[in-house]
């Protein structure tokens, strides 16, 4: 993996986040005068002018834009309308809960999905295979907000086993993580299955079989290694779905994360917080895309070489 490869990926990351931040800026300006939303409709002109001056809105757009970018770079993301404090202070304490939830959900998805997909492929066209495939379609079609509500209905209201929400007990994590992870588990199972089927049909697997490598070892040492690249791709892809899913899941289970903060901020039109969360989402996805690209080169050295030779 060459340095220029890493640098080009870094550049892409910066460009993506910059583009997302610019898009938000343009949308905010298109939406009209933010001061109008801050002051009463019968406010005298002098008050409006004072506000415009305070937020730099009397400056030309291009100056405002650079001030905005400078603010982002120096960690100043504006003031929350609701608290009057920095938007960052609202978002910061929400990061860890969201990481815990999305991390556990990913674990649920991989632990359920990958072995299920491998077993399904090893028993191609068996009833188990069909069961896994149906499960994967169910996971895709089941809205996570409905799944969450069903879980609350059964485990909280009916059997009184688990708390319906909150963050205080470790048990509180179980239902949100399952809600968020189950859809991805289906995707992992489906992808693992088709990737394993492809690998099983390849010549090196025939050789391994002919050499008498036992089935389990063939799976763990030959197949798993070969399907890691598509799995890493999916893991990168599913970050976006995970972020989107966290918005709904956190709201259903009153989980104190960024997703729930986003929903309340949208309801109350707390634009500074919304803007910061959009930038954070773009940054998260850009970082995970970059990590996927870098992991490719490490998992399958052929990819890096091909890219390099392709680039000239």
């Amino acid at each position: 993996m060459s340095l220029s490869f890493v640098l080009s990926k870094l550049l892409r990351l910066v460009l993506t986040v910059w583009a997302a931040a610019t898009l938000v800026f343009i949308m905010l300006r298109l939406a009209g005068d933010p001061v109008a939303a801050m002051v009463p409709s019968d406010a005298p002109q002098i008050v409006i002018d004072r506000y415009r001056e305070r937020f730099g809105l009397d400056q030309p757009f291009i100056i405002q834009y650079f001030a905005y970018l400078r603010g982002i770079l120096s960690g100043d993301f504006g003031i929350s309308f609701r608290t009057g404090g920095p938007a960052w202070d609202m978002v910061a304490p929400r990061i860890l809960p969201t990481l815990i939830l999305t991390g556990t959900a990913t674990l649920v998805a991989i632990v359920l999905g990958v072995p299920a997909g491998m077993l399904a492929a090893a028993n191609h066209n068996s009833p188990f295979d069909r069961l896994v495939m149906s499960f994967s379609v169910f996971g895709f079609a089941m809205p996570n907000f409905f799944l969450g509500i069903l879980l609350i209905l059964l485990f909280t209201l009916n059997w009184r086993l688990l708390p319906s929400g909150g963050f205080e007990h470790p048990q509180s994590l179980i239902m949100p993580a399952i809600t968020l992870g189950l859809a991805s588990a289906g995707a992992y199972a489906r992808l693992t299955r088709s990737a394993v089927l492809e690998v099983l049909a390849s010549p090196f697997m025939r050789t391994a079989r002919a050499n008498g490598v036992p089935p389990l070892r063939r799976m763990t040492h030959h197949v798993l290694r070969a399907v890691l690249v598509p799995l890493v791709t999916l893991a990168g892809f599913s970050i976006g779905a995970l972020i989107a899913g966290a918005v709904v899941t956190e709201t259903v289970f009153a989980w104190p994360g960024i997703g729930r903060l986003l929903v309340t901020s949208v309801t109350e039109r707390d634009l500074a917080v919304v803007q910061l969360i959009v930038i954070l989402a773009a940054l998260t996805m850009a970082i995970s895309n970059m990590m996927v690209d870098l992991l490719y080169g490490w998992l399958d050295p052929r990819i890096g070489t091909r890219r390099r030779s392709g680039a000239g």
Partner: protein
């Protein structure tokens, strides 16, 4: 062949039921979806000891759940259809343009595809709603924009390879215009791709619509959609679970049947996928 038929007939039947419910549902109940009846609040459905006057019971304002379901299904499916159509047309046109534009416009479209894919659409949708405020028009625009980049990316790829086909080159060499080539020669070759993508996009649009409405940020009262009904029902989960479970099940049945139909269609339209 028999397997294919079964995989097609069952979801087609389910989807047909949902659509028939949306179209002819008015015949099932004499009540109006928005009229509340304070004397008939929180009536249980028939299966929980209620009467046939309100087969699925009423909500906390005494509104007939069956009538609300009919209306909500109409809105949810209608919005998802319109949203899918807008996204498919927009993405296809942009993809076609990008495929033949080796200039700034083509580069801008490709950059737009990348940017759209760089932030989860749910976040973009929420930010748009926060910035511009909620309105039905904006909501339709959001649903329409959802997924355009997938169509554009796929159409661009297929169209670029179609441009190298001999008959396209022949048409070009006798001076047929770019628009005519796109319409008469390129579009038919990318059509399957668009249809398959639409079957993937449609259930996702339903999920986006119902998700946003569930959060209270989509369809606003007095209108209702399946997601909004589910969101309302969530507040009375302990007392009347059916208010949430029935609309949720309808969403699930709809997305499930469209997804299964899409699978069957994909196998049909794309023979290389059939072995999986």
């Amino acid at each position: 062949m028999a397997r294919w038929r079964l995989g097609f007939v069952i979801p087609a039947f389910l989807l047909g039921l949902v659509i028939a419910f949306a179209i002819f549902g008015d015949f099932l109940t004499p009540h109006d979806y928005g009229t509340s009846s304070l004397l008939n609040r929180n009536k249980p459905p028939v299966f929980a000891g209620g009467s046939w006057a309100y087969p699925l019971g009423t909500d906390g304002l005494g509104r007939d759940l069956l009538a609300r379901l009919v209306f909500g299904t109409r809105i949810s499916i209608g919005l998802a259809l319109v949203g899918t159509l807008i996204g498919a047309v927009l993405g296809t046109v942009l993809g076609l343009i990008a495929a033949r534009s080796n200039n700034l416009i083509g580069a801008l479209i490709v950059a737009g595809i990348d940017l759209q894919a760089a932030v989860p659409f749910m976040i973009i949708a929420l930010a748009t709603l926060a910035i511009f405020g909620n309105s039905l028009t904006l909501f339709v625009v959001i649903l329409g924009l959802y997924g355009w980049e997938n169509y554009a990316r796929l159409v661009r790829g297929s169209a670029m390879s179609a441009h190298t086909l001999p008959f396209v080159e022949a048409a070009r060499s006798i001076g047929v215009g770019a628009m005519t080539i796109d319409r008469r020669h390129i579009l038919p070759t990318v059509f399957n791709v668009v249809i398959v993508q639409a079957t993937l996009n449609f259930p996702q649009t339903i999920l986006l619509e119902s998700g946003l409405s569930f959060l209270g940020l989509g369809i606003q009262p007095p209108f209702t959609s399946l997601g909004q009904l589910l969101g309302e029902g969530r507040d009375s989960l302990g007392r009347a679970w059916w208010l949430a479970v029935v609309p949720g099940t309808l969403i699930f049945v709809t997305t499930l049947s469209v997804s299964l139909l899409g699978d069957a269609l994909r196998d049909r339209l794309d023979p290389t996928m059939r072995r999986g």
